[in-house]
């Protein structure tokens, strides 16, 4: 574990909320992005991220020093996000149409300057289909895929976060890619 994290964690365990605050500052953006990648909506992602830090703080004494704090925090975030997804499905919240404008706006801003009009439309559609296809994956497949491709985690790191074997992670990713391939029909 990075020395700084180790020292801050030690102080936080002794009741120093300031020390934990420094850890929060360090990881708050990554946690928010991870939450968003799993729940696909920033309002829910914000709540998930905040809850994750609160859970991490209340469970500091359960953290084992041999693991990385970031890995442990990611695990909490993944579990909290999946709980939120399940709750969302149960309550049958937002439809896909509600979430589309947010994605479309971003890609319009990001892609407009460098691509032709035809390419902009194509990219937007492709990413929208990717996002939709990700939502149809199983929880494990989605988690493994998001961690690998959106957060550049290795199979080993993903295995630690998900609490499973590395070979299991590879199977999840293999199946995820297969399912995504079926859902995203490539015309090019």
């Amino acid at each position: 574990m990075p020395d700084n994290d180790s020292r801050l964690l030690h102080n936080a365990r002794n009741g120093d909320r300031n020390a934990f605050g420094k850890l929060v500052k360090k990881y708050q953006q990554k946690v928010l992005y991870l939450a968003f990648d799993l729940v696909n909506d920033y309002d829910t992602a914000r709540d998930v991220a905040q809850d994750s830090f609160i859970r991490a703080y209340t469970r500091l004494n359960q953290f084992e020093d041999r693991a990385m704090f970031s890995t442990w925090l990611y695990r909490i975030t993944v579990n909290t996000a999946l709980d939120a997804c399940r709750k969302k499905k149960r309550e049958a919240l937002q439809s896909l149409d509600d979430s589309m404008p947010e994605i479309e706006k971003s890609y319009y801003d990001a892609e407009e300057m460098s691509a032709t009009p035809g390419q902009i439309v194509e990219n937007k559609e492709m990413y929208a289909r990717l996002r939709e296809a990700l939502e149809d994956l199983t929880e494990n497949q989605k988690t493994a895929t998001v961690l690998k491709y959106f957060h550049q985690k290795t199979s080993g790191e993903i295995a630690e976060i998900m609490g499973c074997a590395e070979s299991t992670v590879r199977i999840h990713i293999h199946r995820a890619l297969g399912n995504l391939r079926k859902k995203i029909a490539f015309d090019v």
């Binding site: 920033y42 309002d43 992602a45 905040q50 971003s106 990001a110 990713i173």
Partner: protein, 260 residues
């Protein structure tokens, strides 16, 4: 069937995670199998799509509420901390300049403080007339209803703290009791911001600090699930005991009662 066996290895092949011998075997197979080659091409496209994925950025509103909330729950670099750091820095620089003069100056300061304390101890202040008139609440920009709201908040939070404190360690909370506690915590949380705004007008540091501590506890209570009850509540009870929050709540209620 040989083809199915090779398909399972395609994602590892993309990640360059296959041993050399297996990689060569797969490449030989791909040269002769159109289905696997096509599947590999499509998987490559999916992987490239995901690697190039740019997630949308959150709105300013989301970012602001997110950062503000976390800053409130887990503050960093409070004013007191900054002041302490600057004083420590200033002290070190003085000391580096001339240790002897600094020591002499320090002794002089201590002497002056000693004389001041001595005067306080042996000096009788003039008696101040205490009238029956209530404090001038207009000066505080608060009315009696506002103060009652803050006091009411303290009473309810004290009830919640007592409920948690009085459940013996080792005993699980009944689901109905947990529901009650969580509902009370959520009700209190919904009015926390308003109460904090009113309390800020009272300009009493003790009240503000206490409210922040209570808010943090309320979030923990509201977010506990049945599986975590025992551990979470043991920790909460410890926090309530160590920080003497119930005593603090009673003291502050007395202060507010005097103001009303």
């Amino acid at each position: 069937m040989k083809t199915c066996e090779y398909r399972k290895k395609l994602s590892d092949y993309i990640d360059d995670a296959l041993p050399t011998a297996e990689k060569r075997e797969l490449e030989l197979h791909l040269a002769g199998c159109r289905n696997c080659a096509l599947e590999l091409e499509e998987i490559n496209k999916i992987a490239a799509l995901m690697q190039n994925y740019t997630r949308p950025e959150p709105s300013l509103e989301v970012l602001y509420s997110y950062h503000t909330r976390l800053e409130k729950l887990f503050p960093v670099h409070t004013f007191a901390e900054r002041l302490r750091e600057r004083l420590a820095d200033f002290r070190q620089r003085l000391f580096d300049w001339n240790p002897a003069i600094v020591r002499l100056a320090g002794s002089a300061v201590l002497l002056i403080i000693g004389i001041f304390i001595g005067r306080l101890m042996f000096y009788e202040p003039e008696k101040v007339l205490i009238t029956d008139q209530p404090r001038d609440l207009v000066v505080l920009n608060l009315n009696a209803d506002d103060l009652k709201m803050v006091a009411d908040y303290f009473i309810k939070s004290e009830i919640l703290l007592l409920a948690i404190k009085n459940t013996p360690d080792g005993e699980s909370l009944q689901p109905t009791e947990l529901d009650f506690n969580q509902q009370l915590a959520r009700d209190l949380l919904s009015s926390t911001t308003q109460v904090q705004q009113k309390a800020a007008l009272i300009n009493d540091q003790q009240i503000s600090v206490f409210l922040n501590q209570i808010e943090f506890l309320l979030l923990q209570i509201a977010n506990t699930d049945e599986q975590e009850i025992k551990n979470s509540f043991i920790q909460l009870r410890q926090t309530i005991r160590e920080r003497k929050l119930i005593d603090e709540s009673e003291n502050l209620q007395k202060i507010l009662k005097d103001m009303i």
